[in-house]
């Protein structure tokens, strides 16, 4: 049985790479957020500036090596060095630096008169993301491994770490910001297009660093609000029969499932796992097979994670728990 699960886990991992690429984008060059757009523009300006300078230098080199090989008089050589080697680079660098600095206040608009309506607190953990929404009205809403945000509204992210340094980065939506133990960093993003985006952990954080990703879903504001309201209450499927197995096998000592006795705080909140785009922190498609494989052989799918393998459980129980979790929408 162990072999069955390890094989299916490996094939799932292989498959998830291509499946993820079709549905979500992780490119900073396909910006879908106000901040990301400025960063993309900065990239193109720097790239264009660098290309022009490179072409100029290589052109001058080829010109002096192939076309005009005559020795320059010392006076004109000195003036080429002065104007081409000192004045031009200083002025160009000054202009590029000024442009980059000019962008900065817009990328961090925290001092503006109207603060962001929604604050999302994301805490990096080996190797998953704890997410807590702080809406302006109502109590905080806990989730994990996925953030959702309303299109056209500025969101403030509060970034923390519970263990080692992680880094939060959803390239199509905004810039990268480290999550440092003992510190709270702030990042502002405003999605301009609806869509599903992927964010990798961008700072090496341990064995499964490469298997730590985040889905970000930008949705219409009304849809977002009704989604958030639904997240604040227990999922409809929480009372179904698989829940008893979940509790009997001890899953509740590490995971929270709202509406049940599962109140563990060590692993991700699973209250609405069925509605997430991916499972296991962005690395597996959200299917019953994937959830069952992860329960059985989490040690193979995510080496070094704190979730032990549960392949000693009867396969039928694993299936039933996976089906129940998929029903928590």
């Amino acid at each position: 049985m162990g072999r069955y699960f390890s094989l299916s886990a490996a094939s799932l991992l292989l498959a998830s790479g291509s499946a993820g690429a079709q549905t979500s984008t992780q490119s900073a060059l396909e910006s879908a957020g106000a901040e990301a757009q400025q960063i993309e523009m900065l990239f193109w300006v720097m790239l264009s500036g660098g290309t022009v300078i490179w072409l100029g230098v290589v052109g001058l080199l080829l010109h002096s090596a192939l076309v005009n090989r005559r020795r320059l008089a010392e006076k004109s050589a000195s003036s080429i060095i002065l104007w081409g080697g000192v004045v031009f680079p200083s002025v160009t660098l000054c202009a590029l630096l000024a442009y980059a600095l000019w962008l900065m206040p817009g990328l961090r608009p925290f001092a503006q008169a109207s603060p962001a309506a929604l604050r999302i607190e994301v805490t990096g953990r080996q190797f998953w993301w704890e997410v807590v929404y702080h809406p302006p009205l109502g109590p905080p809403v806990a989730s994990a491994n996925e953030i959702r945000l309303p299109v056209g509204e500025r969101v403030e992210l509060t970034l923390k770490s519970a263990d080692v340094i992680h880094s939060f980065w959803i390239p199509p939506l905004g810039g990268k910001m480290d999550m440092i133990p003992g510190r709270t960093n702030r990042l502002s993003i405003m999605a301009t297009k609806a869509g599903l985006f992927r964010g990798p952990c961008a700072e090496y954080c341990g064995t499964s660093h490469a298997l730590m990703a985040l889905s970000a879903v930008a949705m219409a504001p009304e849809a977002f609000r009704s989604w958030l309201a639904a997240q604040a209450i227990p999922a409809e499927g929480a009372g179904a029969s698989g829940g008893a197995l979940f509790l009997r096998h001890g899953c509740g000592s590490c995971h929270v499932v709202a509406g049940t006795d599962a109140r563990g705080l060590i692993g991700p909140d699973l209250s609405h796992i069925g509605s997430r785009a991916t499972v296991a922190a962005g690395i597996l498609p959200n299917t019953e097979d994937a959830v069952a494989s992860f329960i059985a052989r989490s040690d193979l799918i995510k080496p070094g994670s704190r979730m032990p393998a549960f392949d000693m459980l009867p396969p039928d129980d694993i299936r039933a728990i996976a089906a129940w979790l998929r029903g928590l929408r």
């Binding site: 010392e74 200083s90 000024a98 900065m104 206040p105 925290f110 001092a111």
Partner: protein, 126 residues
């Protein structure tokens, strides 16, 4: 012209401009760091920090310009062209003057680059 220092022969004048650059860098960075960590201790607005950085920049640029002028004088006011590589006392002096002039230019630009963020940033972000 009692204000203008006499020409002296020492290696130390070579470092004047980079030392001013370093001091300006520390004043700007440490000043902004202290203000942003404990604004209530300093009791000023961020505009005052920017004005302080502007004043430090004007002072630093003036000192570097003075160092550059002295270096230019040591270099023979531009009458001689490099390389000054003869094993003579005159060439050694000219070489040092020219090197000091170049370092002053580098430090001048560096001080401007160090101060530029204060032109655009209007508040501390923690």
């Amino acid at each position: 012209m009692w204000l203008v220092p006499k020409q002296i022969e020492t290696l130390w004048t070579l470092f004047t401009a980079p030392v001013v650059w370093a001091a300006h860098f520390l004043v700007c960075y440490i000043g902004a760091a202290i203000y942003c960590a404990k604004p209530e201790l300093v009791g000023l607005s961020f505009s005052a920090v920017r004005a302080g950085i502007a004043a430090a920049t004007v002072i630093a640029l003036s000192l570097i310009a003075l160092s550059a002028w002295l270096a230019w004088r040591q270099w023979g006011l531009g009458t001689d062209d490099p390389p000054h590589d003869d094993p003579t006392r005159r060439d050694r002096t000219l070489f040092q003057g020219f090197a000091t002039l170049l370092l002053s230019g580098l430090s001048f630009i560096a001080v401007i680059f160090t101060a530029m963020p204060a032109l655009f940033l209007t508040e501390c972000i923690r």
